[in-house]
């Protein structure tokens, strides 16, 4: 795969950025600073913390599924880090339904909460194939779902951002929240892994 930094689009972006700087519309390095600001504090550990708290507290799960933006404030997180607060939609996996998130039009992702998205999430292959054949794509990720589990693909085609609430693994009844959080992966939060 061609490196992002050497791609045609990157060269175009650098060119536009330098023109904006030359005309005094942007300070040198301002865009990088704004991107850093936006992504500051964003890490999959935030998502893992939300999931672990949901596993430990059924009332929180209910509030999270009803209004994620309000509920995540209870664990000290927020979707209001950007220019405006982004709506967060949390979808919960169950024995009968598995959820997986994609942005077919570009690469929308809860960056302010989870940090930058993985490269594969932005790839044309993932974006075009997961809506057509999610079961096949998940199998390639090593996730083999029972035929009886229905799959819902959520396309982040507008303004909401999404988070998958994975099923709590068996045999974790005695674990503390921090230990539960350590089980949750970024793929689990997108829906391309079971946890």
């Amino acid at each position: 795969m061609t490196g992002h930094a050497s791609s045609r689009i990157s060269a175009d972006v650098r060119h536009v950025e330098s023109l904006l700087e030359a005309r005094g519309l942007l300070d040198p390095g301002e865009i990088d600073a704004r991107i850093d600001e936006f992504a500051a504090g964003g890490t999959p550990a935030n998502g893992a913390r939300i999931v672990a708290h949901a596993w430990a507290d059924a009332g929180f799960t209910e509030r999270l599924l009803a209004d994620a933006n309000e509920a995540i404030r209870e664990v000290g997180l927020s979707m209001a880090g950007g220019i405006q607060e982004q709506r967060l939609k949390v979808v919960a996996n169950s024995e009968s339904e598995h959820h997986v998130v994609v942005c077919t039009l570009c690469s929308c992702y809860p960056v302010a909460l989870l940090g930058p998205s993985p490269t594969w999430y932005k790839s044309e292959a993932y974006r075009s194939r997961v809506v057509r054949d999610p079961r096949g794509v998940l199998r390639e990720f090593g996730l083999e779902l029972p035929e009886t589990t229905a799959i819902s693909v959520w396309d982040a085609s507008a303004e909401s951002r999404y988070l998958v609430l994975p099923r709590r693994p068996a045999g974790t009844a005695g674990l503390a929240e921090a230990e539960l959080a350590a089980l949750v992966t970024r793929k689990g939060l997108i829906g391309t892994a079971s946890v």
Binding site: P134, A150, V153, W154, D155, A158, E159
Partner: protein
């Protein structure tokens, strides 16, 4: 302005191929789906991309059967669509 659609309503997406930016993905055009729930109110992305002022209007999660979108498949795809892209389906 109240939401035009409620959860459970059947809607059909627009078929027109607009000239320029839109957030109605090509694979979801001219398809019948079911409203899951409203997803907030936002200015229409198509208008914003053209630099036009635009009042916020309701966006919905709309669930489509894969067979409706692609002619085959057992899964469903939930697409987030502005009210402007939708019309009532019988």
């Amino acid at each position: 302005m109240p939401d035009r659609y409620a959860p459970g309503d059947r809607v059909r997406t627009r078929t027109t191929d607009v000239d320029g930016h839109t957030r109605l993905p090509r694979y979801a055009r001219g398809a019948v789906g079911v409203i899951v729930e409203p997803a907030g109110r936002h200015p229409l992305a198509d208008e914003r991309a053209r630099g036009r002022a635009c009042e916020p209007r309701t966006v919905y999660h709309v669930r489509f059967a894969a067979s409706e979108l692609f002619g085959s498949g057992e899964h469903s795809v939930v697409v987030e669509l502005w009210e402007d892209y939708l019309e009532e389906a019988s």
